[in-house]
Subunit: 302 residues, 2 copies
DNA sequence: TAATTCTTATAAGAATTTCTTATAAAGTTT
DNA sequence: AAACTTTATAAGAAATTCTTATAAGAATTA
């Protein structure tokens, strides 16, 4: 059953089974259903139309079957087992160190496998069943994905001396101009959020930015060089150098913010662990973020 | 797996398997999950609390697995296989003869197994998976059950000479008085509908009726004997004797009516057959019931 | 187009699992 | 306590699934 996850049948022997076994299993299933699941006439073999539905249905069956264990675990109050968690890059470096230690201490039986993935990859892997949950910016409006908001993280501006906004104590969304903001490279939802934010106030088009980078560290450095201001998620501002703290400018409330949620597939497998994660993370973050009045910016991907 | 449907394990050997086999299967499952499914310390052995959840989940798994065949059938445009249909008593005698012949002719591959069941039994069997669909009066407001309205069937009064309403050409809901209406025995939802109807107009309490019967035939005969009026569903009035037709009194529009639906479990198995049934029945009934302006009466059970 | 390589299918026996018959054990009923 | 019912255990039979070995077919290369 699990064989269909990848379609190159031979490669799919990562199921710890030999190729003839797999071949026969599939043949048997095809015969039993009296239908072709795979189109074997093309070079990389493909699923037939029904095949796709069959695989989809097979996933559901496997999910329902796995839930059996969940029921037992719940009954026993047992929280343990493997758990694959995806985290988007702009959340990873700040959030992970905050909760990982406490979580593993509190739930030693859980074997966390954490992967840095962008939002799109998270969604795809959740749908394929290759990920149990993920931490991402929401809302996603994806009907296969359930979202559970953990916290709201305000944006904070980082503005160095030579920038036109440096002298302002507090800034507003209207002050922003996409032209002079340093952004992460394409594909980061934080970038999308910021672009969104700017578009919301002015109706600028989003062409030709100055420079793009994959990490906030770099953005700060570029900014220090006088190449423009940048926007940082609040938690990230907690560990910048003291000497750089003076460049932070908070937004006038309601501050724009991103919504960070734990997301999972709608089949809601391993609910105990998801719940445990939620509790640990939200408990910790509550201590770190005191803001209340906040205005949520959607990540909306293209 | 299917063994759990009935809990007397030995009796559950209707699974065409010997008792030791079942015993061992269950033991194996209990061991694998490391939990007790059955409480063997009582005379008729019972499910443990987890056991109930396990069985429920097992049903879901089986459902999802069965849906595999549905997918294939759908793809092939094949409509066939066993189909267990429940029909409530007050619909059975009039509706069944109308559609059965056409349906079996149109879908010869479907092996229909029809059972007369009251609404409550229908719901229970649908939930247990012992029934594929049923025809009943709706709305039911049961979150496990999906309803698909087939037709609205007006009530028609049957009033003999000696009754106070005999001389009226058309009657209204306000004319009705529970005290002098002959009703079906307790448990029939048609009865509930009528009581409801009367309560809706006046606020009488529903104690001490005169006589109660299990079939409309009897009610008509009792009515002929001058024991009171009665209410009949419209389709039933199509095959009463010509000599009795003169006692029929239609309601002034909007006529009170019952809503008759095909209902099924929310898991929506065998959608093609349910769909085929819906089409055949609604097609036929559309020819028989011309009424438009109708006021729906809910069956609302206690 | 023949040879090489890659991928899927087939065949036969080994290994594992599931089922049955026979029987024991435990619990109820009379 | 004897008769009866119901569930558990044990051992061999039956069925299924898996593996190794090998063939067959398609794509790529020479």
């Amino acid at each position: 059953m699990v064989a269909e996850h990848k379609n190159f049948t031979k490669a799919a022997e990562k199921t710890f089974v030999t190729q003839p076994t797999l071949s026969m299993q599939i043949q048997k299933l095809e015969e039993e259903l009296d239908i072709l699941i795979f189109d074997r006439s093309t070079k990389p073999l493909r699923l037939t139309t029904v095949g796709q539905q069959i695989v989809e249905q097979a996933r559901k069956i496997v999910n329902e079957a796995n839930r059996m264990q969940d029921i037992v675990d719940q009954q026993k109050g047992y929280i343990g087992g493997d758990f694959k968690l995806g985290i988007i890059p702009t959340v990873m470096p700040t959030l992970l160190p905050m909760f990982l230690k406490l979580f593993t201490k509190k739930h030693p039986k859980v074997q966390l496998k954490i992967e840095e993935l962008n939002t799109e990859e998270c969604i795809q892997k959740l749908n394929e069943g290759n990920l149990d949950a993920a931490i991402a910016a929401t809302p996603l409006v994806n009907e296969n994905i359930l979202e559970r908001v953990i916290y709201y993280e305000p944006f904070v501006a980082y503005i160095t001396e030579n920038h036109r906004l440096f002298s302002k104590k507090e800034i507003t969304v209207e002050d922003l101009d996409l032209e002079d903001i340093l952004l992460l490279e394409d594909g980061h939802c934080f970038r999308d959020g910021v672009i969104n934010l700017c578009n919301a106030s002015k109706n600028k088009n989003t062409d030709n930015f100055q420079l793009e980078s994959g990490s906030f560290e770099t953005l700060i450095k570029l900014s220090n060089e006088g190449l423009g201001m940048t926007l940082l998620p609040y938690l990230h501002t907690l560990d910048i150098k003291d000497s750089e703290k003076k460049y932070l400018r908070y937004f006038k409330e309601p501050s724009p913010a991103r919504e960070v949620s734990i997301i999972q597939h709608k089949s809601e497998l391993k609910p105990q662990i998801v719940d445990a994660l939620y509790k640990v993370i939200s408990g910790i973050v509550r201590g770190a973020i005191a803001f209340q009045d906040v205005k949520i910016i959607s990540p909306t991907k293209k």
